[in-house]
């Protein structure tokens, strides 16, 4: 395999370049996936049937905690990639681990939030609004969950194999995914929660 040493590890082979561009295109598809969910949510937002409205069930505290957790994790995965480019394996793994811990914490708060909704009578079957809300949040949450496992496996591979063109490439692509999930969360935060509570 041809390795170009003038570039960062994650770009150093042709295959790596293909994977990074391919993943960007996948993100393009993901944008449409979430856009469709938002479309359904905005359409069904006020169709609450006999169930509660958004303003009645949203709570600012857990949402704020989730936002801070995810924003910070997006920052730390950025630092991990920066450390990787300096070839600082230990620091890179440290930032990577922090990212995964923050992600787990986010997921914990989200699970609390979901049980809260069910508790106050906003379950999946309650109304079109709750179905759209929980599906949109759930899809994002599912992405985070899959990301956590994926990240963990990459971390294990870096530990075992070190920073090679492959592990670096995987880490970089994981960072793209993680930042993307953060972007989606910003839109959820702004246009589902804040708009709903306004």
């Amino acid at each position: 395999m041809k390795v170009d040493n003038s570039l960062p590890l994650e770009y150093s082979t042709e295959e790596n370049n293909l994977k990074i561009l391919g993943f960007w295109i996948f993100i393009g598809a993901e944008i449409m996936l979430f856009a469709t969910l938002f479309t359904a949510y905005f359409t069904l937002e006020n169709r609450t049937g006999n169930g509660p409205t958004g303003a009645e069930i949203f709570e600012i505290t857990p949402v704020l905690i989730e936002t801070i957790l995810l924003l910070t994790s997006s920052f730390t995965i950025g630092l991990a990639i920066h450390a990787m480019r300096l070839n600082r394996k230990k620091a890179m793994m440290g930032f990577f681990t922090i990212t995964l811990i923050l992600g787990t914490a986010f997921l914990g708060v989200e699970i609390y939030e979901f049980t809260h909704y069910v508790h106050v009578g906003a379950g999946l079957q309650t109304s079109a609004f709750t179905a759209a809300l929980l599906t949109t949040l759930g899809t994002h949450g599912l992405h985070v969950t899959l990301g956590l496992f994926w990240g963990l496996f990459i971390l294990l591979q870096i530990k075992k194999r070190g920073l090679t063109p492959e592990t670096a490439n995987k880490s970089f692509i994981f960072s793209l995914y993680w930042h993307f999930l953060d972007i989606i969360w910003i839109f959820i935060f702004s246009f589902i929660y804040l708009k709903g509570m306004m």
């Binding site: 295109i25 449409m32 856009a35 479309t39 950025g78 839109f187 702004s190 804040l194």
Partner: protein, 93 residues
Amino acid sequence: MKELFPLKQVMGFAFSLVLTVVALMVYFTDMSYTMGMTVLLITAFIQAGLQVVVFMHAGETKDKRSIYVNIYYALLIALITIFGTLLVLVWDM
């Protein structure tokens, strides 16, 4: 230690926290719907752009053009889908 915290990314993070606080004004102060939506739209899109440029390194390779065209295209189709659907099913029904 310092080299592990590049200024660009630290500033990016600080800025995204500021944007979050600005967005929160919508909740904590008494704003009209239009005003609130304007604030949210501006803060959300700036934050998204920030992530793409600062953290995702979208512009660092020669695939820059493909990546940006891809994002803009996705964004265009996404907005068409959202607002077109709202037009059909909510605003003009």
